[in-house]
Symmetry: C2
Subunit: 598 residues, 2 copies
């Protein structure tokens, strides 16, 4: 039976043919590993995702978290699924073997993860946050913090969360008010209210480790006065086991439209009892540390969105192939049998759109994961640095452009199903609802656009952007050598050149009038996104042409890659055109509109 | 307290300044009516919508219809709201005074209706279908049918439905199988299963009048063999009152993602007991008659979508004005107070998008309603004919382009609310879910696009399209006389000329290779839609400039119209560019994609 997860054939193409991850095996950290190891890991992920995650995806949507006797009750299949995930070692997959990990490349763990995300995005959110919390502690925690918290976070006993927002401060972290007062013993006592805390409270783990942004009494105002605290739900006893309660008090649940399996909470810190936290790293550097977790989370938002686009694509493809409906516009003989939906061109358009976003988006996310590996394990320091800089540029694009496009893809999945897609008899309406959170959380898309245009464009004297441009130029140059791809390569170059010249202009304008310039940041983001998507499709088409020329394998599959690339260049990349025109003109309609004229 | 319905100031502008409906008062049918009458009617609609429809919008979403003891239970506030609607005369508002109607212009009833749609789209669906059923019977029923059914349909005792789809035939009416066998007494006995029947069964009315597409035993295959039958849930007794059951049997409910107040059913006809229907009009002409109802329903889908965009706009505007969050990108002093969301440019972009769709979409829908009035009551036969032809062209555009854009608008309303918009604490997530049905029902948007390109473009030797083009040319010519609007007028002309020249090419291609040509119909639809939207905004801006020049009234409001027009020309009309390029090139990626390559 079809599991509607990430297709094996595609994943093999992306990891091995497109990204060529075999080269990672040469690095000391991954010694002894190789395609066989990695495929086995991904195969295990797929099996667990299909057996333990996917079956309760609808059930946990219908049975949203509730409070009973002061405790949160979540759907009963969520806990066992996470336990299976941890038992198979996925929570520690990329960690050092010395601490019980598998020391896998990040790109392999993310490929494995995509199957969990496609199977059940809400359930995988718990380990996702837990892994990110562990990574933050591994990177910035003290030795003692690592010793006490890393093992239980990676073996599934403790879960993790990130506590940033407050009721009056969602996007504006500058206004975080939660207060941390120093205690005589070096610990800190926290008081405040945190909002939108995913996985903030439940009974599935022995303990929950909250990473909390708060302000010390003497801290300067704004984000430069934020410190990061490790706040366990239960304080650890002398043996490192959860002991007494720590003043982390559930104040309420948020009732969401989708993503319902992930409990979302309002939490009061220090209510009734003292809430004791440990400082992570230095004071006033909390946001810097938190960005470690947030950047990982942002790529995770993009890949989660893409995974929903992917499974939605497969579901609507299955429906389109099996549901007979109507006839061709030029063949109206009503006595002939109805044809399958997929024979209708407009259905194919909606399938191509989804394939473009799902497979292309996955390629972008896996490419970003490979940059994480290069940043961490490449032998050349300059390559490591560049990988980080390119990743900085791509992160907001992956988070927001892909979450917007993935919603568009899920919308098409519903439309292909017709009325059936609007009912609970099929999963696509849930994918669309679940996916709607992705443009909002971990930094709303509008803020990502300001980050991209206002910070990343000029970052490191333009090095981040130059690397983005360089990747495009490299792909275009290579694609020119294939006759059939040459026109697409030239088109990509033309749009990229136009974008680069615009970027010059924008950097000048940003210096003169940032507010007016940033008013059109959303257009800049989308233009960058379409360029990134077109590039990754041209690269895939190039790989497919090479494999076809080599007589290597599955012609129908490879033709699909090439034709989808053509679709992207005919239907999607051109959307960048009017956005670039708008940006070039410096149009200030949005900036100028008087508030009272709405 | 704000009611978040269609703003009075805007409606006055659209009806009186923009459309100039005062001229209708000169027509004999509307003698004695005028602005005062019409404003009073709309005011009453607004009041009832606010008091009886809006309050249970969320409640009927949470409390979706269910079956208890074989009977459908809907939320208890729905029935009383519809009763208030009927008691105030809205079900009969446009009918002849002789049959108890108010003989109002259609455009006035639709303006009134927009308030009900903005207040509660699910509840208003029942009277909406009832009115459409009554109109069909008024147009095509026999004198006896009119006598027996029109009065109870217009006074609220009977409700109406349209029964087209069947489980194996949603979009493909050609494949309808429901059978109607002639009885000795001239009546017909129906057997079959009907699917997706909104309002198909409930206990809120004394009777339900189903208009059923079915096939007589000797009928030719396809749509030319469909006849239309009037099938009451309860047969009428000698006095015209509902008597015994008529074999219309509830077979199940569809559980929808939104639009939940409207019960959606599967109905078996002739199960257990005979189901007796009356033929409407002539045999095999059923689809022609049904199109009377469907075209009305399609415009209704567009205006319902727009009404949701409108109320979503007002809700997010209110939130943006009252919620402080963050600071300007160039003013990061964290000790200064947070600014209201509306001061952020990207929030204004999302508000402008919504305003463009909501107010512009409403202008298009009211313009279409005025065409209905011209078609029915203009003194000049040529004008009447042209109004109908233009309406034919606009109907699929209003149905599908506006339903797609309205979803985009509701998406922006959620985004402005941030995480709050994703919860049930605010209504915008429901608007988005409710609105998602609109691209699907009453003919999926893909089919509307084929209708527009394949039929309407060449209809009446191109007269329909020429009228569409003529309207654009007229507006552009007038706008050129205003210096500040001249560049926009020239832009509109340029896009329109390009579209017209493309249309010539397409007509040629359609004759040669219809299947390949229609494969890109969705792009054609969107290009037409952006042209229509830009035209209606340029016309509004022109009116606003005229009023400003006359010193007539509210500068902030009129400036808003002009600035939103600029937004449409900077951000939305340019989207047509790449679509036109695609269509001009005759790109056949979608047509060519092999089914096995997905």
């Amino acid at each position: 039976m079809q599991d509607f997860l990430i297709r094996e054939r595609d994943l093999a193409f992306l990891l091995h043919d497109h990204l060529g991850i075999a080269r990672l095996a040469d690095r000391p950290r991954f010694a002894g590993q190789g395609r066989e190891t990695w495929d086995a890991v991904i195969g295990t992920a797929r099996r667990i995702a299909a057996e333990k995650f996917r079956p309760h995806n609808r059930a946990s949507d219908l049975d949203e978290p509730r409070i009973e006797n002061g405790k949160i009750v979540v759907h009963p299949d969520i806990g066992p699924a996470i336990a299976a995930f941890s038992e198979a070692g996925f929570a520690a997959a990329h960690h050092d073997e010395a601490v019980g990990g598998m020391q896998l490349p990040w790109v392999v763990t993310q490929a494995a993860f995509a199957n969990f995300q496609a199977a059940n995005l809400s359930t995988v959110a718990y380990p996702f946050l837990t892994i990110a919390a562990g990574n933050l502690i591994a990177a910035h925690g003290s030795e003692s913090q690592k010793e006490r918290f890393l093992a239980p976070l990676t073996d599934g006993r403790f879960f993790g969360t990130m506590m940033l927002s407050e009721p009056h401060a969602g996007s504006s972290l500058s206004d975080v008010r939660t207060l941390a007062k120093p205690q005589e013993d070096g610990a800190w006592s926290l008081t405040g209210t945190k909002m939108w805390i995913s996985g903030g409270e439940h009974e599935m783990a022995e303990n929950i480790v909250h990473l909390v942004l708060a302000r010390t009494p003497d801290a300067p105002p704004g984000v430069k006065g934020l410190s990061l605290f490790l706040v366990p739900r239960y304080r650890l006893d002398a043996d490192g086991n959860p002991g007494r309660e720590n003043g982390v008090v559930l104040a309420g649940l948020n009732h969401k439209m989708g993503y319902r399996g992930t409990v979302n909470t309002v939490i009061n810190l220090g209510e009734g009892a003292p809430c004791i936290g440990e400082l992570i790293g230095e004071r006033n550097r909390g946001l810097t540390y938190m960005f470690h977790m947030m950047n990982e989370a942002r790529i995770g938002v993009g890949s989660g969105a893409v995974a929903l686009a992917y499974t939605g694509y497969l579901h609507s493809l299955d429906y389109a192939r099996t549901r007979p409906q109507g006839r061709h516009p030029d063949g109206k003989d009503a006595t002939s049998p109805q044809i399958p939906l997929i024979e209708h061109a407009d259905i194919r358009r909606m399938l191509l759109l989804q394939k473009a976003v799902a497979e292309g988006g996955l390629a972008l996310c896996l490419g970003a994961a490979l940059l994480v590996d290069d940043q961490r394990t490449h032998s050349d320091e300059a390559v490591r640095r560049d990988a980080g800089l390119l990743l900085d540029f791509l992160t907001p694009v992956i988070k927001s452009f892909l979450s917007d496009r993935a919603l568009e893809a899920n919308d098409a999945a519903i439309q292909i199903h017709g009325g059936a897609g609007y009912t609970r008899d099929f999963p696509v309406e849930q994918f669309w609802r679940d996916n709607r959170l992705n443009p909002i959380h971990e930094g709303a898309n509008g803020i990502q656009a300001i980050d991209l245009m206002g910070r990343k464009l000029g970052q490191a004297d333009g090095r981040s952007f130059a690397l983005f441009r360089g990747g495009i130029a490299e792909t275009a140059a290579a694609a020119k050598s294939v006759t059939t791809l040459r026109p697409l390569a030239e088109e990509l170059e033309a749009v990229s050149d136009r974008f680069a010249s615009l970027a010059e202009t924008i950097l000048g304008r940003l210096a003169e009038d940032p507010r007016r310039t940033l008013a059109n940041a959303a257009a800049f983001m989308d233009a960058a996104g379409y360029l990134a998507l077109a590039r990754v499709w041209l690269a895939q088409a190039l790989t497919a042409e090479r494999l076809l020329a080599d007589g290597a394998g599955d012609g129908a599959f490879l033709t699909g890659k090439i034709e989808t690339c053509r679709f992207v260049f005919a239907w999607l990349l051109p959307r960048a055109g009017p956005l670039l025109t708008l940006l070039e003109s410096g149009d200030d309609t949005v900036f100028r509109m008087p508030g009272e004229s709405f």
